[in-house]
Amino acid sequence: MAIRTLGEREELLRELARVAARVRYRVVEAIGRAGSGHPGGSLSVVDILVVLYFAHMRHTPTNPSWWARDRLVFSKGHGCPALYAVLAEAGYFDPEELATLRRFGSRLQGHPGMTGLPGLEVPAGSLGHGLSVGAGIALGLRLDSIPARVYVVLGDGELDEGQVWEAALFASHQRLSNLVAIVDANGFQLDGPTREILDTEPLLAKWEAFGWEGMEVDGHDHAALLEALEWAASSERAPRVIVARTVKGKGVSFMEGQGAWHGVAPKGEELEKALEELGRAMEVRGEGW
């Protein structure tokens, strides 16, 4: 959206906050109903996806395979409930379908597969592949002179995979200025804090050493994310990376910063409490339910 005045930008940010609150509710509701899933990393990536789809990317819910669309490669596949909820909110399919998460035969699997879900570009789940795929798409777009961008969303735990760094080298060598990587750096992976499992810090310096231009932002601050994305999309020489510092389980008090909520669905009273908190957050933001 072209932002012309301060008023308009504030209005946009208010709307983004409303959308993010609704997405968080839908994510926890769907995981709760499924009885399994990954709430921690789904909730940490919500704001990144909301800003991408609702304020930054050029994409077409009416025609998901439009030739000139910006492409999003969601590499941290287990966080897909957030992607599904955002795609539904954005109009790719009816939000009611979110109730089928992880069911047999559903288009919404626990790790995204090519089930014919509109808006889903590539499958994911086995970590570390997304950047390679994204770099290939970006190179293809450049060879075809299509003025579209590729956004790859990675987890920080995922950066343990050597393939990510091979792809990073390839992208800078090819000067893929139409490629943007966003790291959802929530500090945890399945087995514990990323710093303890395999420390990849200082993260930004590593990407820069691999020939990328980068910046670090608060991954829950919509205004900061919007600015960072605008900066990343203005590259002319090199691929750019945004290291988004996030909180695992963001939005649910007892999940925030708790690695234990990486891959466990809330049940019973926990689920009720989580939904109550998220429901309240929607009301605060003026959204009736």
């Binding site: 959206m1 789809y53 009416t62 025609n63």
Partner: protein, 280 residues
């Protein structure tokens, strides 16, 4: 919570005067309404339509399902991420978050082409514009602002004709109001037809630029300004039909009169809704 947002759909062929009508309505509704062109819900961009040899009038060239979902969300006051089709380039732009004001006016080829769409709208208007006028208006607009040549347009319009008859025109029978525009000496002759009941919510007469619409005997009377002789009127018949020929002196010219009537109707709704809200 009750009705929070009113939805109005205006259907009509390309260059039938939808935009002109919508702009006039917006102006007289003082910022309480927004206008959405349903061209934003095109599935294919101009290049893809050309490759596939498909006109934008066909249902499969428009995302009617997303339109219906958005109608329902907007009617309950929710914001939606609205797709954006850019006519100047014939491609899609970045979609925009759109929060509805108290009334949204949709214009397009197929705003109430399905029952799902029809049911979500509070008022359905069909612009029935004579082909001669459409062609003249289309040339005047598309060659100037959309990069077409007159030859393109002639070919285009011929190709569109069967699709217009098959998909767009049937909406006329489902409309609450049909506005006909016919070529007439020195301009346009307009004619308004309404199904009964449409003007019923209006309790008081209201005026706009020399015209008054007054409920009368279960129907409605379109009355010229009392200061002007020779009032036009409508009987409370099964159909309200108003013929607006060359205007009497001092009264609005036909198509402007129709706009004024419609604006008056919508303002009446908003005012009534306002009164109800205060009462609660």
């Amino acid at each position: 919570m009750g009705k929070s947002v009113w939805l109005v759909g205006i259907a009509g062929d390309s260059a039938s005067g939808k935009g002109t009508l919508a702009r006039a309505l917006l102006e007289s509704l003082d910022g309480q309404a927004a206008w959405v062109s349903l061209d934003d819900y095109h599935v294919f961009d101009r290049r893809e339509r050309k490759e596939r040899k498909i006109t934008p009038l066909r249902p499969e060239a428009n995302h009617l399902g997303l339109m219906a979902r958005h109608y329902r969300a907007l009617a309950s006051g929710e914001a939606v991420l609205k797709p954006v089709y850019d006519h100047s380039t014939g491609t899609f732009g970045r979609p925009q978050l759109f929060r509805p004001p108290r009334m949204v006016i949709f214009t397009g080829l197929l705003p109430f082409a399905t029952r799902e769409l029809e049911e979500a709208l509070d008022l359905k208007v069909f612009l029935d514009t004579h082909p001669e006028l459409k062609y003249a208006w289309k040339v005047a607009r598309d060659c100037r602002t959309r990069g077409y040549t007159p030859e393109d347009l002639a070919r285009d319009m011929a190709r569109r004709e069967p699709d217009f008859t098959a998909f767009v025109e049937p909406q006329r029978d489902r409309a609450d109001l049909v506005i006909s525009q016919l070529p007439a000496e020195g301009g346009v002759r307009s004619r308004l037809r309404a199904v009964p009941g449409i003007f019923a919510p209006v309790r008081k007469g209201f005026r706009q630029g020399g015209l008054a619409l007054v409920p009368w005997g279960g129907g409605v009377v379109l009355d010229a300004d009392p200061a002007v002789e020779g009032a036009w009127l409508v009987k409370a018949a099964s159909l309200l039909e108003v013929d607006l020929p060359s205007p009497p002196p001092g009264v609005l010219e036909g198509s402007r009169a129709v706009r004024a009537i419609l604006a008056g109707l919508l303002r009446g709704w908003l005012e009534e809704a306002g009164t109800r809200e205060e009462a609660v």
